[in-house]
Symmetry: C2
Subunit: 239 residues, 2 copies
DNA sequence: GCTTGACCCTGCCCCAGGGTCAGGGTTCGA
DNA sequence: TCGAACCCTGACCCTGGGGCAGGGTCAAGC
């Protein structure tokens, strides 16, 4: 006959946990000795190890209670199911480890793989970090609005980047961010941009990504989403 | 600017969880629109994904708060530590899977590997299941009293079992459990047992495991731990 | 015989990480 | 213009215990 402390240590749980299991009806209350202490037998130890094993597997205590006085077939089935859940949790934890590793840097955690690839391509092109942040945030917001559209548009934009003219325009717009709104290069840039759009339209290819909703989404996401020069550019192109 | 529902779906958490993170100060409260709705930016989405990633790794919310506004070096160190914990948890879950598999049968979960081997040997010898339960429960209780002693005694008992005389005695004591207390074979068995003990003692080998404390422990652990015939045997040997 | 430290008892409140419900107001698409 | 789907706050509930209070018990050493 052993005490609650010995029992708890045997099973590797706390005394408090044992009392908790009594309260929940998982473990039968044993006899008390003359001073009111609980006195346990080997059978209690066996029952407690079973409880602990199931609890460590993540089985809720309420279900452990049912399981322990279920018939062996039901127990076997339940164990198979619990084991399956365990395997899944292990897989999940492994995925979490991968994600954790990405937490220290990079955008892959926040955007789709396609968008991440797009951002990498822009980086390689020499686009400013400010502009890349802008792009990234735009894609994040787009995905919240419509993941499928965002995915499609990402692909389209990556195709567009094959076009050397588009690349040049993109880089120039990026550079123009910091220009003075009176910069004489702005009208020329606006003209080139408009011509490029018209060309594409004439060749009746897919319309480039310039959905106003998206533009608005992106624009409102950050204070740096516009600049005096860009505002001027927008007015010049809209005219 | 997105709503709380869109934000939550993006990060794969519930709306309630987002509000919870606000309350805990993990995620800054964003601006409200004219009707009091929270309006989020891409930066909030990024922050939320970070929070979720850490939370999924099992980091307590309070610590996540500290981590998010710690310097990058501290973050890197913390991530390494968290990843280590994650790896340990995966190993732990794997162990739990093994234990779970043993839950359906066998004693290996409850006794030391040595004691399990001893029980197997007894089974092979043809010892009754009742007696094996008795042995098992005895070892469980002994381990709660003194794991090292239990381990040593287990080894000694396994050595003893090599002795053919001891085996025969063990099996006869097992069989005697069900005899009538008046059975004429009892005195002879008691005599044989005593002779065997004396022989060992003369050869001054290690004293066999017959510590009274242990006997008492085992005896009190179960109602079937004694029988009329055994009681008689004990009296005969004690005389 | 007395003290000291390690146990044990019950009962209570506390924590994380939310879920759920109540009792509203808002927005949006058909 | 109406109903569905959102959003708001606040309050209570849940699991699996931890911690503490306030007290009783036991065994060892002096």
């Amino acid at each position: 006959m052993i005490t609650i402390g010995q029992l708890a240590e045997y099973a590797g749980v706390t005394v408090k946990a044992v009392r908790h299991y009594h309260q929940r009806g998982l473990l039968a209350e044993p006899e008390r000795d003359s001073s009111g202490y609980r006195r346990y037998t080997a059978e209690d130890a066996i029952a407690l190890v079973k409880i602990r094993t199931l609890a460590e597997a993540g089985v809720p205590l309420a279900r452990i209670g049912d399981l322990l006085d279920a018939d062996p077939d039901a127990l076997t089935a339940a164990i198979a199911e619990i084991d399956h859940g365990l395997r899944e949790r292990i897989a999940q934890l492994r995925r979490t480890r991968d994600q954790l590793a990405q937490l220290r840097g990079g955008d892959r955690l926040f955007v789709s793989p396609e968008a991440a690839a797009l951002l990498d391509e822009l980086r390689e092109l020499g686009v400013s970090e400010r502009q890349i942040r802008l792009e990234r945030d735009g894609w994040i917001l787009m995905r919240t609005a419509s993941p499928e559209d965002a995915s499609r548009w990402t692909a389209e934009k990556r195709e567009l980047l094959i076009d050397l003219d588009f690349r040049a325009l993109y880089l120039d717009h990026d550079a123009a961010y910091d220009w003075s709104p009176d910069d004489p290069r702005l009208p020329a840039l606006a003209e080139r941009t408009r011509t490029w759009f018209d060309d594409r339209h004439h060749r009746s290819e897919t319309r480039p990504v310039h959905n106003p909703t998206i533009a608005r989404l992106a624009a409102q996401s950050q204070p740096e989403a516009s600049s005096p020069a860009w505002d001027r550019l927008a007015r010049l192109m809209g005219a």
